[in-house]
């Protein structure tokens, strides 16, 4: 009974991806019935999506956005989290409060002025114009997360280091940062997934689908080839696989990171 329940749960979880996969193998331009293996699997659909639909460029652009966004969030969050955790700052609590707003703020609440602002900066349609806001919207979680990590480190560590004559920056870099490696890795994992999958800001700030995040490009394919369901599904799989496959291998860390993420939401 329990085994059946387990299996059923896994089946429901993977069902949509299985559907994407079998649909992607049907002849282009057809409307295949649900969950049927095609008589003549069109593996070429994946190549077709890569070449004619330029999914390759969408993947490259998505990768570029991730590479520009994630390290920046990690550095800024670690440094700011450390500052908020280890220094008795006047107004530090208020700053933390400002970041806490960001934890629950819907992106839709800032997207319109953000568009105006990026336009004024002359960065509409550029990777920079997309990456800067993406860094900003992920900072609240990063800062709160890293602050919690540094706050729980023992105070004696810094004291010992300071006795040895190290400045605050050296204490941070040489003592605390290495110990926070695990928290940073989990944070990085979540940030990669969220950035890769982000739609709204990419849709609004970058007009060319092939210069957006991966999910942003996919959002445009839907409009462009709403006509061709198998090709659309092939494109969707190509864009989903680069995060889903590694994460299935890293599922323990990802699950831990997700659970920790939810607890930050609660604790704040």
């Amino acid at each position: 009974m329990t085994a059946l329940l387990r299996a059923g749960l896994v089946a429901v979880t993977v069902l949509p991806l299985v559907e994407l996969f079998v649909t992607a193998l049907h002849p282009p331009g057809t409307y295949p019935p649900g969950l049927t293996w095609p008589a003549d699997p069109h593996w070429s659909n994946f190549g077709l999506a890569l070449r004619t639909a330029r999914v390759d460029r969408a993947l490259l652009s998505g990768l570029l956005v991730v590479l520009a966004t994630v390290p920046a969030v990690l550095v800024l969050s670690a440094v700011a989290g450390y500052g908020l955790a280890r220094f008795p700052l006047p107004g530090g609590r208020a700053v933390l409060g400002l970041f806490a707003i960001g934890l629950v703020l819907p992106r839709e609440a800032i997207v319109v002025p953000l568009y105006q602002q990026v336009r004024e900066l002359g960065l509409l349609g550029t990777t920079t114009g997309l990456v800067l806001p993406l860094i900003a919207v992920h900072l609240p979680f990063g800062v709160v997360w890293m602050r919690a990590r540094f706050a729980s480190a023992s105070a004696e560590l810094s004291d010992c280091a300071r006795v040895d004559g190290a400045g605050p920056w050296a204490v941070f870099r040489l003592v605390h940062l290495p110990l926070a490696g695990d928290a940073l890795r989990s944070l990085a994992l979540l940030l990669v997934v969220w950035t890769w999958n982000h739609l709204l800001l990419a849709l609004v700030l970058v007009d060319d689908p092939l210069r957006r995040t991966a999910a942003g490009a996919l959002g445009a394919f839907q409009g462009r080839w709403g006509t061709d369901v198998p090709l659309l599904c092939a494109g969707a799989l190509l864009i989903t696989a680069p995060v889903v496959v590694p994460l299935l291998l890293l599922r323990h860390r990802f699950a831990d990171a997700l659970l920790a993420w939810t607890s930050v939401r609660r604790r704040r």
Binding site: G97, A100, L124, D207, D228
Partner: protein, 446 residues
């Protein structure tokens, strides 16, 4: 551990809001008006390499084919083409023209963007190239009065590559099997629909899913049969006092509701997109499809010898038949980088023999201007049928612009949701038109 709680977060929001109010009002008095510049020397693309940036509609093979041929004849011109769905194109037009101005843009609806000063006034080019000698019915929808309205008079803001016409495509094999001939009155059409249903064939292929209110096609066809195309154009062109909820309009909407109630469309109409409708018609699963001649070439290729076409039949036999016939129109952004070259392309597309041939072969449409075409049209093809229909509509001057083009948002915000509700039986024909009329007044009033 210190916990900033929700109270603090909320206070901060209020503080920030107050901070914002203290600042200056948003926006500026920026208005960019480009007056109809007199063209004094021959517009050209020069000889230096240049790239024309263009926005075309997805699925329109013609624009791309013309662009390729233009480059072949003008090797210094290359293209940066972006294709979008019709509804995305309409929705994004204002901000694309303002923030990322292309040289050439397919524009279903010109009055909002022309009124906002985002489009180039083409009168200078029109005089130079002689576009003002084109049939008036083909340029009328693209003229916009000062400040965005009414349409139909004032400077020219866009021009077409071809004429276009809409009506009923039908599957000749199915028609023969069911025993249906081209109807000459609306009553005969109703009879044909009923016969198809009795024969177990979907009478009408349609699309009305997602953001696409495709039922505007049959609705406006019926409106043209019940009412006068001029009256409908008055509304579409935003002439003062024009209404869509006229007695004739209501009759047309009721007629459509009867078709829906009779089950003449597939039950998943509200989840069907344009491509799926085409697929159903081409694969012989529906007798009729209301659509435009931009599909003629495709139908001749994909169901050769099997597709026929007729204009929406009138109430009484022999009355002139009206049709939506807005030319697929292209404008030039006010701040375009290469307006001259874009204008050269637009003129070339309707005057160059090879281009005109492409319009027929790839677009399946009758080239704009000039009485006849040197291009071969196979007799009996659906392209030949739509050519004849175009000539009939031009001769009777019964062309009308698409009601979805009345304002920039009336299609997405009013026609589409209201027609979807009509399908669901959640809206009455009268309620539908009253609601669209109210939205329309709101949209042009603001």
């Amino acid at each position: 551990m210190q916990r900033p709680d929700l109270h603090r977060a909320r206070l901060a929001v209020v503080a920030l809001a107050l901070l914002g109010i203290g600042c200056a009002a948003p926006g500026s008095d920026l208005t960019s008006t480009v007056d109809g510049p007199a063209v004094v020397s021959e517009p050209s693309c020069g000889t230096e390499p240049l790239t024309l940036r263009a926005r075309f509609e997805t699925g329109s093979a013609l624009a791309g084919a013309l662009a390729d041929e233009f480059t072949r004849q003008h090797p210094n011109v290359t293209w940066d083409i972006r294709e979008e769905q019709f509804d995305v194109l309409t929705r994004n037009a204002p901000r694309v023209l303002a923030d990322d101005p292309p040289d050439l843009m397919r524009l279903p609806q010109v009055s909002d963007v022309a009124g906002a000063g985002l489009l180039r006034d083409l009168d200078g080019y029109a005089r130079w190239f002689g576009w003002d000698r084109l049939p008036e019915s083909q340029t009328r929808p693209l003229r916009v009065g000062p400040g965005g309205g009414p349409r139909g008079e004032g400077p020219l803001y866009a021009t077409g590559l071809s004429t276009s016409v809409t009506g009923f495509f039908y599957d000749e094999e199915l028609a023969a099997r069911i025993g249906v001939r081209e109807p000459t009155t609306l009553a005969e059409l109703d009879d044909a629909l009923a016969r198809a249903q009795r024969a177990g064939v979907t009478p009408l292929a349609g699309f009305n899913g997602g953001a696409t209110g495709g039922l505007t096609f049959p609705l406006q066809s019926l409106m043209g049969a019940y009412g006068s195309p001029e009256e409908i154009d008055d509304w579409t062109f935003q002439r003062p006092g024009a209404r869509i909820d006229t007695p004739a309009g209501v009759e047309a909407a009721r007629h459509l509701a009867r078709w829906l109630a009779a089950g003449y469309f597939d039950p998943d109409l509200n989840a069907t997109d344009y491509a799926r409708m085409m697929d159903r018609f081409i694969s012989g699963r529906a007798l009729f499809m209301v659509n435009g001649d931009w599909e003629s070439a495709t139908l001749d290729r994909r169901m050769p010898g099997r597709a026929g076409f007729f204009l929406t039949p009138p109430l009484r036999a022999g009355e002139p038949r009206a049709a939506m016939a807005g030319p697929p129109s292209f404008g030039i952004a006010a701040r375009a980088e290469h307006p001259d070259c874009a204008a050269v392309f637009l003129d070339w597309a309707v005057s160059d023999p090879v281009a005109r041939d492409l319009v027929v072969r790839v677009g399946g449409a009758r080239p704009l201007g000039g009485a006849a075409t040197s291009s071969p049209v196979e007799p009996g093809s659906v392209t030949a049928a739509t050519f004849a229909a175009t000539d009939e509509v031009l001769a009777h001057d019964t062309a009308m612009d698409f009601i979805a083009n009345a304002t920039g948002s009336v299609y997405a915000r009013s026609w589409t949701p209201q027609l979807q509700q009509l399908v669901e039986g959640e809206q009455t024909p009268e309620g539908l038109l009253a609601r669209v009329q109210a939205d329309y007044l709101d949209q042009i009033g603001g």
